[in-house]
Amino acid sequence: MAAAPPKVELRNVNLRYFGLEGETEALKDVSMSITPGEFVAIIGQSGCGKSTLLSLISGILMPTGGAVLLDGRAVAGPSRKVGYMLQQDYLFEWRTILENAVLGAEIQGADMGKARARATALLTRYGLGQFLHHLPRQLSGGMRQRVALARTLCTEPDIVLLDEPFAALDSQTRLALSDEVAVILRREKKTAILVTHDIGEAVSMAERVIVLSRRPGRVKSDHAIRFAAAERPTPLAARNAPEFNTYFNRLWQELEVHVEG
């Protein structure tokens, strides 16, 4: 019997953006393979095509060459297997917290009674139980991003794409929330792909870090992040582990190299 296909696979993916002034090569010959339950971080400098990569996996953008596969099947459009967390919460200001959290289920035509129950449970677990009928403007940035997480998980995706979801938060909230999110995603055994330019965030959250080169983005290197502890430490604990600095410095040099080159 053949081995189970990778959860997410990119085969020689190319992407070009077209504009009247010319075309831009955003990604060139990108291949990678991510196993079920893996937490992968993709780092690279601004404009290296990191976010484009997530748009391709989510199916809202089609590659100009190569193929993107989920569970061995080529992506033809947005898939229900995939949940996408964007750089900001983008909560709809005219919807209550609960109504925002069930947006995905509503668009996908799911059973709304079940969706509301699931969203309520998620929001309650994230400490927002008393804010279900509040409006987004009444919540702080960290709370809003938790609502966005509930909105993503409410459709029960297998694969969660995180596009610098903490970038807009202050540094304390950012650390606390990335810790929470990593723990939640591991517990629920989701396959997660985190895009960031923050090396510390990548090393502390992911078990594998892929470095993209500058535009056009290519896979420059692929690093397994292993800690000596028997169990994977939480992101906050990982930052204190001795291995953290080693990985951090190695990745730092990787990124630094092509600032000069």
Partner: protein, 276 residues
């Protein structure tokens, strides 16, 4: 409850109470000044013609309006009651701006849906909006007849600006909100219904405000030309027989109609925006 806890008034500090009193005094001063301006205007309007500083035949005066109004209330074989005139004008105005909102939103949605359509029509819309629609009053009268030409003018004068305003509101929706809906697999229709339209409510209200005023202009100008009914007709009639009392009464009622529309729209805005 907001994320900042509000203290109850009972436990408020004296500084806060003093600040509150200052705020309230400020609000009273604004209100008082507004009333004073209105009063000063009415007094000048009354006194200047009475003192013969301006010719009363040309301006009439406020104290003459009420008796004139009472007289105009009666309907005669030659002349309908002023209430009938007011009703005709108000109805045409409401029909005009409601039609402009519905049609404007529909056209804006079509332009949003088919970008090519927008590219093609853009110059025509801009020119149509800049055209003085009142130039068409005589033609509308010939094409549509006495009553329909007024509804037509009321719609024509406000529909183009409505299309342009609402379309630009649609364009102003954060593309990331649309991207978010797309990640859930939203269809174009779902994006329109769940993101673009609800996100454009403030724009729709702004368009309605512009619209209501313009439609009233369209109606009154239409009535000058073509009607035997409506405040525009009454004003025109009063001017022709040189009775400034009738003209000024008509204009005053127009001012009241405008104020009521303003209040109505403010109320609608308060109701709709409470959720934001």
């Amino acid at each position: 409850m907001s994320k900042v806890e509000t203290l109850t008034l009972a436990s408020a500090s004296p500084q806060y109470l003093a600040w509150l009193a200052r705020e309230r005094r400020g609000a009273r001063i604004v209100r008082g000044t507004q009333l004073a301006i209105l009063l000063a205007f009415l007094v000048l309007w009354e006194v200047l013609p009475k003192a013969l500083i301006v010719n009363p035949v040309l301006t009439s005066y406020p104290s003459a309006l009420w008796p004139t109004f009472l007289e105009l209330l009666k309907s005669t074989p030659q002349q309908a009651s002023i209430l009938v005139h007011t009703w005709a004008t108000a109805l045409a105005t409401v029909l005009g701006f409601t039609g402009a909102m519905v049609l404007g939103t529909a056209v804006a949605a079509a332009l949003w849906w088919w970008n090519v359509l927008y590219k093609v029509l853009d110059p025509y819309l801009v020119v149509a909006n800049a055209m003085p629609k009142t130039a068409f009053v005589p033609i509308f009268y010939i094409w549509l007849g006495a009553t329909l030409s007024i509804y037509g003018m009321s719609l024509a004068i406000s529909v183009f600006i409505t299309i342009l305003m609402i379309y630009s509101g649609f364009q102003g929706i954060d593309p990331n909100k649309i991207k978010l809906a797309q990640t859930f697999g939203a269809t174009k229709g779902q994006i329109l219904r769940k993101v673009v339209l609800p996100g454009s409510v403030p724009t729709l209200l702004a368009a309605l405000k512009v619209n209501a005023g313009l439609s009233l202009v369209g109606v009154v100008v239409g009535e000058f030309q073509s009607a035997n009914l409506g405040l525009g007709y009454l004003i025109q009639y009063g001017a022709q027989i040189f009775k400034m009392n009738i003209v000024m009464t008509g204009i005053t009622i127009l001012a009241i109609v405008s104020s009521l529309m303003y209040l109505g729209i403010s109320w609608l805005e308060a109701v709709v925006m409470r959720r934001r």
